[in-house]
């Protein structure tokens, strides 16, 4: 390969290399036949179907690709065993959320100093699905293991999920909708017979 063209532009030197084609390359026909051989092999393998088919397409609505077990999907709020929301409105998740998509307005349950969320909203349009809220939650009330995507919606208001929606999402996963985490056992002050 001889540099046939040398040009000095400021500090850099541009070399243009003249690559010589071999006779077989300049004939083109052998390469065309070789390429046709590859595509023909794939074509006939796929047309024959069955064992020889090389297609790996997933027919989406009918078959779905299984997500990895730690895939982060739509949020869900966990229940206590009595069906009450497990969240104690400690405000850890809105604090941790980098996208500021969680809104919690706490209220008192009237049972000692226990709190619960009066409003729990997640704006799925702002959520960046980072999972920091799940990490931050001290009582395993919020999870992202539904395996579902955020639903498409026709207006922005519909993309904001409230407490009821998030509690319903618990059933999207075929696992137990109730939280299974035990954090220091059931506190003595909690009246498990009371619903929110």
């Amino acid at each position: 390969m001889e540099p046939v063209f040398k040009k000095r532009v400021s500090k850099a030197t541009i070399l243009k290399l003249q690559r010589k084609n071999s006779f077989e390359q300049s004939m083109m026909l052998p390469a065309v036949v070789k390429g046709l051989g590859v595509t023909l092999r794939h074509f006939f393998n796929n047309v024959a179907g069955g064992e020889r088919s090389e297609a790996v397409t997933v027919q989406y609505p009918e078959e779905k690709f299984p997500y990895p077990p730690r895939y982060r999907g739509l949020h869900r709020l966990m229940h206590r065993e009595d069906g009450a929301v497990r969240c104690v409105a400690c405000m850890c998740c809105p604090t941790a959320c980098p996208a500021h998509c969680i809104t919690i307005i706490p209220e008192e349950t009237g049972n000692g100093n226990e709190k619960r969320p009066a409003v729990f909203e997640i704006d799925e349009l702002r959520c960046i699905v980072c999972g920091l809220c799940v990490e931050a939650c001290p009582c395993d009330a919020i999870r992202m293991d539904t395996g579902a995507h955020a639903h498409p919606s026709e207006n922005r208001a519909n993309a904001i999920l409230n407490k009821i929606d998030l509690l319903k999402n618990a059933t999207l996963n075929d696992k137990d909708p109730h939280s299974t985490a035990i954090q220091g056992g059931v506190p003595a002050w909690r009246d498990t017979n009371k619903t929110p």
Binding site: S26, M28, L29, V32, G35, L36, V38, T39, L40, H42, F43, N46, V47, A48, G49, E54, A55, V56, T57, Q59
Partner: protein, 409 residues
Amino acid sequence: MGILYLFLVPAIAFSALSAGLVFLFGIGLPWIATHSWGTWAMSIWFTALIKMALLLLGIVLPIASLLTWMERKQSAKMQDRIGPNRAAILGATMWGIPHFIADAVKMIMKEDFVPAKANKFLFSIAPLLAVVPVLVTFAIIPFGSDACTGQLFKVVTDTAACGETIPFQVARLDVGLLFYFAIASLAVYGTTLAGWASYNKWSLLGGLRASSQMMSYEVTMGLAILGAFLVFGTLEPSAIVVAQGPNPIHWGIVSQPLGAILFFTAAVAETKRTPFDLPEGESEVIGYFVEYSGMRFGVFFLAEFMEVIFLAAIMTTIFFGGWQVPGLYADGFHIFGNYNMAHGLVLFLQTAFWGMKIMFFCWFQLMIRWTLPRFRPDQLMRLGWKQLLPASLFNIVLTAAVVLWLESK
């Protein structure tokens, strides 16, 4: 099951069509002509009209629209995908064949947009200029041997000596393939005008690329086929087919292998499909029909597929024996022993086999289109002028010398 989609559908279509043709020209029209009120049925203009309608409406347009589906399905099979399989008629998806109907409906329903500063007349007429030459050139393609009227159930030894015949060819012109070159070169107006009339500089550049490419490769196309003219001594397509005969050793591909490859390459460049698709570059380059939408674009698209069919037909006619079936003579098979067959059956087999060859070459062109990457413009011009043109001139000289030597012996 998968293999069916490629061969079974066209096989059934062509068999039904050729059976209809044989019935019409062998029994139907002669029967009408025997009555005093129906002598027009066998007149040249009426049979030509019937043949035109059957060839265009029965073969070219259905297959051109079917090729849109076939291209998608075949490219999917070549690229380890599944391809179109959703559209259905009454729940029957039929390997996705209804997709071409869905495509057509989409094209027709789309907005018919004309750019504000475009030349409206030329903008409207450009798709027609692209599609009409292709349709016209089908007139010279022979799709079966001459039918001896009224002798459909007899064994005919020579179709040239059986009295009244109807040729399975719309127009039997002595200039034959020169007519094809004359008309096909008009198609360049369609592309160039489409690029110019859109009032868009990128489409204008696309039109210029199209015109330079088509003009360059027309030279090679004409010269590559001259060798075949020297061998067969005629320009008339049906005479070329008769001269090739039912023995594959005498077909054009054997005597003109270089001419066949050169002609095929140049003609693929004329159809502006992928190794040579820089005028349009449907995937990323902006081409001459960038401003076209809806059915106007659809007509360009359809014209491209009709060119594919026409190229398949002309390759079949000149280099692969046209409607000749290996071993099938006018009076039946003479390949392993002699089997006499009725004239109608011979005609049916020949026309059906012609259709098979057409489908094979359409398939082969799709294979090439989805195998090879696109040329750069400088590579395109170098291939056309520095490689194909000298090779075709060499082919002419070689063929002429051999023909002269054979005749002087």
